[in-house]
């Protein structure tokens, strides 16, 4: 863990809360208590209705691959040894999309609409990243 050298989120404000839930093994998104709209990334206000009241509600953890890219040439020094790797956009059942990765799928096997579910990767004692694995049906 001590030698983890990839960029980490800065744990402040709503971002600290989002990743705090991940650290507890839960993927939660903000949901407006006024109009029930889900949202991600975290925001101070509901852009649908203007409400400032919301809860962190638990996601089903399931979604589908929406799109991805395959980084063949790393463009950041911390990912120099990681290529090829694929940042993936997952569309969750709640409708929000999350940028992450699918840990058990080689980039060449990714497909749009592939079903995936969340897993948690504790990359440092403070930071747990939400990642995904395939749901085999």
């Amino acid at each position: 863990m001590a030698d983890y050298s990839k960029p980490l989120p800065v744990l402040e404000g709503l971002t600290e809360e989002f990743y705090g839930w991940c650290r507890k093994g839960e993927l939660r998104f903000q949901r407006c208590t006024e109009c029930s709209a889900w949202r991600h990334v975290p925001r101070e206000m509901c852009p649908e209705c203007g409400s400032t009241d919301w809860d962190w509600q638990k996601s089903s953890g399931r979604g589908v691959v929406f799109t991805w890219t395959v980084a063949a040439r790393p463009l950041h020094p911390a990912f120099a040894g990681a290529a090829p790797y694929a940042p993936v956009v997952v569309e969750m059942e709640e409708g929000v999309r999350v940028l992450s990765e699918v840990i058990d799928c080689p980039p060449g096997d990714l497909a749009i609409d592939m079903p995936v579910e969340v897993v948690f990767d504790a990359v440092t004692p403070d930071v747990t990243l939400p990642k995904f694995k395939r749901i085999h049906r």
Partner: protein
């Protein structure tokens, strides 16, 4: 809305040499000052007659431009914080400024040592967090290795390929057209280096679906323009190039690229109808377009969102020479960011002015009377100007 049609114009243009190895040998400021000085002289003005400056975001302050150029009466200074959309968006603000009397003549410079200085590709955490939406990128994209612009935008390219069947060959047609045009432009970095579709297909992947030749150049260079009123320009040195319509727009949300309800919507989707309406023309009336080509797919996407073709038809539109000189809509007649130089899109405005003055030499579009220039920046901010020859 007050229409500024025909009331402001681009009176002067300036450029430096565009180079890669061994670099410009000048500081970023010195490079931009050279282009600025050329643009002011081209307009037939003296620096003392310039009273507005609109620097590119994070590439210099109006104060230092003024102090070096001898601009003693600086009374209008502003920067539009939309990355590569800023030069064209600045045309809009400059036009508003000169038409309201907030300034008489506004200098808009842009330039950098994008090859020999800090490279566009070397995005690190501190760089992205200074962008609009950069904190989101830092906290939600970077930890997963989505670190740089080609990776952000290739997410949209893949989705477009999925929904509309857009192909690698179609993206390649864009790279080939830009390179073909650069063969007619001695200041293009890729002058003398033609590119075939098979060269394109054989080029290494950078971030699939983007190959090397889908990506713009990294270059040292600067360009600048001077905006003044149409009335004032009558007394100046060069034939008028008039701003007929100019607009900016933002995608929604602009600070986050993955959660848009409409993933292909960009700032241009909002800006283009406004600019064409103000100009009183339709996309089909346009003689040529200089489209911000950070990557090939962004050209295709902007052609669709600007209304040159329907969404989903861009792939077919860019094939069969339609966007080449002699085709229906020549695009990036100078070679663009892909094959002339990455001068932050300011080189696109300069090229449009050359075309409308009839000064484009071997690459002149015949009877060019109406041209479009677009800008694209950050997570898809957009800008567009419809420019016309004569008063």
């Amino acid at each position: 809305m007050i229409n500024l049609k025909n009331r402001a114009c681009i009176a002067g243009i300036g450029e430096t040499r565009y180079v890669r190895k061994p670099g410009s040998g000048l500081s970023q400021l010195a490079l931009q000052l050279q282009a600025a000085k050329n643009a002011i002289a081209d307009a037939g003005l003296s620096p003392k007659q310039v009273d507005g400056i609109m620097p590119f975001p994070n590439l210099g302050h109006a104060e230092e431009f003024a102090a070096n150029l001898g601009i003693e009466n600086l009374r209008f200074a502003a920067t539009v914080n939309t990355g590569g959309a800023a030069p064209v968006a600045s045309l809009r603000i400059a036009a508003m400024a000169v038409c309201t009397g907030a300034a008489d003549a506004v200098l808009i410079p842009a330039g950098w040592n994008g090859y020999s200085g800090s490279r566009a590709r070397e995005t690190v955490s501190e760089d992205v967090s200074s962008l609009p939406g950069g904190v989101i990128a830092r906290d939600y994209y970077l930890p997963f290795g989505l670190t740089a612009p080609p990776q952000w935008y290739s997410l949209m390219a893949r989705r477009h390929m999925h929904e509309f069947g857009t192909t690698a060959e179609q993206l390649g047609a864009i790279a080939v057209a830009m390179r073909k045009h650069a063969q007619l432009n001695p200041n293009a970095v890729m002058y003398g280096k033609p590119l075939s579709l098979s060269d394109y297909m054989a080029s290494p992947m950078i971030t699939d679906p983007y190959r090397l030749f889908d990506c713009c150049l990294e270059t040292d260079g600067a360009a600048a323009v001077v905006v003044t009123t149409a009335e004032r320009a009558l007394d100046l040195a060069k034939p008028q190039v008039t701003i007929l319509g100019v607009a900016s727009g933002q995608p929604y949300p602009a600070d986050e690229i993955t959660n848009r309800k409409d993933i292909f919507q960009t700032g241009l989707s909002i800006a283009a109808p406004e600019a064409f309406a103000a100009a009183g023309v339709e996309p089909r009336d346009i003689d040529f377009a200089e489209i911000y080509d950070c990557f090939t797919f962004e050209v295709l996407q902007q052609l669709e969102e600007a209304g040159f073709c329907e969404r989903g038809e861009g792939g077919e539109f860019v094939q069969s020479g339609r966007i080449e000189l002699g085709g229906m809509l020549p695009v990036n007649t100078h070679g663009g960011l892909l094959s002339e130089a990455h001068v932050l899109g300011m080189n696109h405005i300069v090229e449009a002015v050359k075309q409308l003055r009839g000064d484009a030499g071997e690459r002149q579009v015949e009877d060019a009377e109406l041209g479009v220039v677009t800008g694209w920046g950050d997570f898809g901010d957009g800008s567009i100007a419809v420019l016309g020859a004569g008063g």
